[in-house]
């Protein structure tokens, strides 16, 4: 397909040029990091809500062709930010909850029973770690299983000597 502006493609670049370009991109990435202006708030709040059309996508990520819900909601969010009558994001979200119901918020709030949603995974992690530590301790204290006659497992300095020997021979 011909371009009206240019048909030229860049020549294959050398490593140095690639690195320079990579650096440029990395620096460009820095420029993407926005501050707390309205567009950043719009992006943040838009990612904390779901589209209500039933697509199951985050509001700003819904791209259903002809989706009426997401367009309306985005406009409402922009209007809420434009009004400037509140700097409180929670109040804006609350307004959406009143209009669309609690499922409009993309994650459980940290209130009431919803706290359980947040606590449970970390509680399971903590209990799991405690259980694993308990298992390890009980394994360490377990008596050695019986061995066939004549087999002696090296212990202490004798075992360390075997280990040193193995390291000398394998450098591992």
């Amino acid at each position: 397909m011909k371009s009206v502006l240019s048909l030229r493609y860049p020549l294959p670049g050398g490593t140095v040029r690639h690195w320079l370009q990579s650096t440029t991109l990395a620096l460009a990435v820095l420029a993407f990091m926005g501050a707390g202006d309205d567009s950043a708030r719009f992006k943040d709040l838009g990612h904390r809500m779901m589209c209500t059309c039933g697509c199951g996508q985050v509001l700003l990520e819904c791209n259903h062709v002809g989706c009426q819900s997401s367009e309306k909601m985005r406009n409402e969010l922009l209007a809420a930010l434009d009004k400037g009558n509140t700097n409180n994001d929670d109040l804006i979200l609350q307004g959406f909850v009143q209009e669309y119901g609690p499922t409009v918020i993309a994650a459980p709030t940290a209130t009431g029973f919803n706290r359980v949603a947040w606590i449970m995974p970390f509680l399971v992690l903590a209990l799991g770690i405690a259980f694993a530590v308990h298992i390890v301790r009980s394994w360490k204290n377990r008596p050695e299983p019986a061995l066939a006659d004549g087999i002696v497992i090296p212990q202490g300095s004798e075992l360390d000597e075997f280990r040193r020997k193995a390291h000398r021979e394998t450098d591992l």
């Binding site: 371009s3 690195w19 990579s22 990435v29 697509c55 990520e61 994650a107 394994w139 377990r142």
Partner: protein, 679 residues
């Protein structure tokens, strides 16, 4: 044609029921008559495959012949559907995908029953368990979701067509891969349960199923990632993972399967974690079933709503029964599963596997919890809440980072006990390298203390680097030892090292791939997007790119009409490519669909590759001008490269170890040390 299909399904049900019942009876006695009965059960199992295969072929042929007298074909195909998608009709809807599941299960069973001489008794148990699962699926196919149900009334002239979301090349591959993974875990499950019931001595069942499990895991990995790529390339929202319940359902058995692949080594090497391994493989199978239940039942809203129906109850009952049977034998035969060794040190490979399993299971629990919390909330509070991406990102990501740390540290730990001195020596180079990566990120301006997402991105980069440097150092260290002793060059020595223990070094390659996947994910906080109405010559500036609209055009074919934008992409004043984001309108289903276009900037950025991702959103009705949404997604291509490396690593781990060459010498020598001989 529908009669042939229906007959084949009914025959398959009878055969599998016979295989189950006769096989079960044969297990109770150990005489010649029972052996003959068992043999008939085995043959019935083999014949089941033939019958289900016939049913599958009939459905595909019906799709190619546009036989709209079959309701399934009417609802999922149309005359102008391309041939590849007509083939994919087999798994494009509820009844067809269940038939496909049943076919794969029968195929796995066919292979298993042909190889029965490996261990006849154990294989007989596994065969009976497999037949029971087969009976369940064939019961559904015959009585609840019949793929050959005929249309009522007159014969329609054309079908309603395939869902536009499914008309994409990856949909021809993604479901089969995922199903091969889901169904494949039935085989190790059957062997595990069989070994538990018969109190099978030793760990031979694990050796028998090791390759099954790895191949299955590989299929599931490919299936999960292809699903992510499909979401990225078709859904057009610029992302690849939306924590949708059905996506979650595919990830959960993958996590427990991964845990099993690691912890099973402890049972093989040290005779430990026997109950744990049984539980893990049971959980993996049950989670595979749960995934199907979630897809089919409609209890949780999902983008996969195209597959919903009322057969969820069947799955719920089956999951409950399976859980009860597994739990019963796990408790009744627990004395058979006692560990044979004790743990010697907290700083050991055994401990790292234990904690790796713990973290994998916590991530799995988090996903399960988040997926089902809306139902729990409705039960307790009387209303549903949404548990979407912000929840999973905040809870699962920190745990996943800990897991990544263990992925890096684990391979440096020796079995039984690791000395601090050895750990320090092995850890020094990877640690310095990864800290340098973190330093470079801060030098380039990433401020991890300013935003949690930047913190996670930095941590992910550091830990991924740690994994990569660990893998490299393990290869180099082992290679140098072999090179020193055999006078090969380092590269040849590393190949030699790999051949000595393919499983261990194949596993390291998989870890390397995982690190690349994480690198691909960590670019997410730096994504950028711009949406704009674009007329001829209009521009969008996004990052270092300028997108110029050259023109619009449209086309038409029997299946769909489409329009697309022609957009030239410039960088530093030079045109680097032209992209054609597209919007289609499928005629049979009367549904629109966007089709994004993606340009990965390998030529321009090499390591810091970025996807330029364009979506034709639609037209502004007021102005008649098209709306284009442009995304800049840094590092995403590394995810797909990581997948390729993970698959390559799994395949290399499946290669048998090279035989140890015995060199006879008249001179007495020390026994050579086994370099790279432990997992």
């Amino acid at each position: 044609m529908s009669q042939i299909g229906s007959f084949a399904l009914l025959l398959a049900l009878c055969l599998s029921a016979y295989s189950f019942l006769a096989g079960l009876l044969a297990l109770f006695e150990n005489d010649a008559a029972s052996a003959r009965l068992g043999e008939t059960a085995r043959r019935a199992g083999i014949a089941t495959f033939a019958a289900v295969l016939l049913a599958g072929i009939v459905l595909v042929v019906a799709a190619f012949h546009d036989d709209f007298s079959i309701a399934y074909i009417f609802h999922h195909s149309n005359r102008d559907l391309p041939a590849a998608y007509k083939f994919a009709v087999l798994w494009s809807g509820q009844e067809g995908s269940l038939l496909f599941w049943s076919l794969l299960l029968a195929g796995y069973g066919f292979v298993l029953r042909l190889r029965y001489k490996t261990d006849q008794r154990l294989f007989a148990y596994a065969s009976v368990i497999l037949a029971s699962v087969q009976v369940f699926f064939l019961l559904i196919l015959n009585f609840a979701a019949h793929p050959f149900a005929v249309m009522q009334g007159g014969l329609p002239a054309d079908g309603t067509g395939l869902n536009p979301l499914l008309q994409y090349p990856e949909m021809v591959i993604h479901p089969p891969m995922l199903y091969l993974g889901y169904v494949g875990f039935t085989v190790p499950f059957a062997f595990a349960l069989g070994a538990l019931i018969m109190k099978y001595p030793g760990e031979k069942w694990i050796q028998i199923t090791r390759r099954w499990t790895m191949v299955t895991w590989c299929f599931l990995t490919i299936g999960v990632f292809l699903g992510a790529h499909w979401a990225y390339a078709v859904l057009g929202w610029g992302g690849y993972w939306g924590w949708d319940p059905v996506e979650n359902a595919s990830l959960m058995p993958w996590l427990t399967g991964t845990a099993f692949l690691h912890s099973v080594m402890m049972q093989e090497k040290r005779g430990m974690l026997k109950v744990w391994n049984m539980s893990l493989i049971f959980a993996t199978f049950l989670l595979s079933m749960l995934g199907t239940f979630l897809t089919r039942s409609g209890v949780i809203s999902s983008v996969h709503a195209f597959a919903q129906s009322s057969i969820g109850t069947w799955f719920l009952v089956f999951i409950g029964l399976t859980l009860a049977v597994c739990s019963f034998f796990l408790v009744a035969n627990r004395s058979h599963l006692k560990s044979e060794h004790k743990l010697e040190s907290l700083v050991s490979r055994e401990s790292s596997f234990l904690f790796n399993n713990l973290l994998l299971l916590v991530v799995c629990f988090t996903i399960l919890w988040g997926t089902f919390f809306p139902i729990l909330s409705e039960f307790v509070q009387g209303h549903k809440v949404t548990v979407g991406p912000p929840f999973f990102n905040r809870v699962a990501v920190p745990v996943a980072l800990l897991l990544l740390l263990l992925t890096a540290v684990g391979p440096l730990l020796a079995w039984r006990k690791t000395s601090v001195e050895s750990l320090t020596r092995n850890f020094l180079f990877p640690a310095i390298g990864s800290i340098a990566v973190g330093g470079m990120m801060i030098l380039f301006g990433v401020r991890p203390w300013e935003d949690p997402s930047y913190f996670y991105a930095t941590m992910a980069a550091v830990l991924s680097a740690l994994v990569i440097f660990t893998v490299i150092s393990e290869f180099v260290r082992g290679g140098r030892v072999i090179a020193g002793k055999s006078r090969q060059n380092l590269f040849s020595a590393m190949i030699h090292l790999y051949h000595r223990n393919t499983r261990r070094y194949g596993g390291y390659i998989v870890h390397f791939g995982v690190a690349l996947v994480v690198i691909g994910i960590l670019g997410t906080p730096f994504n950028k997007e711009v949406e704009k109405e674009m007329g001829f010559g209009d521009k969008i500036n996004i990052g270092p790119y300028t997108l110029v609209c050259q023109s619009y055009t449209q086309d038409d074919n029997p299946n769909f009409g489409n329009e697309w934008a022609i957009i030239n992409v410039f960088r530093d004043g030079k045109q680097i490519t032209t992209m054609y984001p597209e919007r289609r309108f499928y005629k049979a289903s009367q549904q629109p669909q966007t089709l994004p276009r993606i340009y990965p900037s390998f030529r321009e950025d090499l390591f810091l590759v970025t996807d330029v991702y364009l979506v034709y959103e639609g037209k502004n009705e007021a102005t008649g001008r098209p709306i284009i949404k442009a995304h800049l997604n840094p590092l995403v291509p590394w995810i797909w490269i990581g997948l390729i490396i993970m698959v390559f690593g799994t395949i290399t781990a499946l290669v048998p170890n090279a035989a140890v060459v015995q060199v006879t010498s008249p001179v007495a020598t020390r026994t050579p040390a086994q370099v790279g001989a432990g997992d």
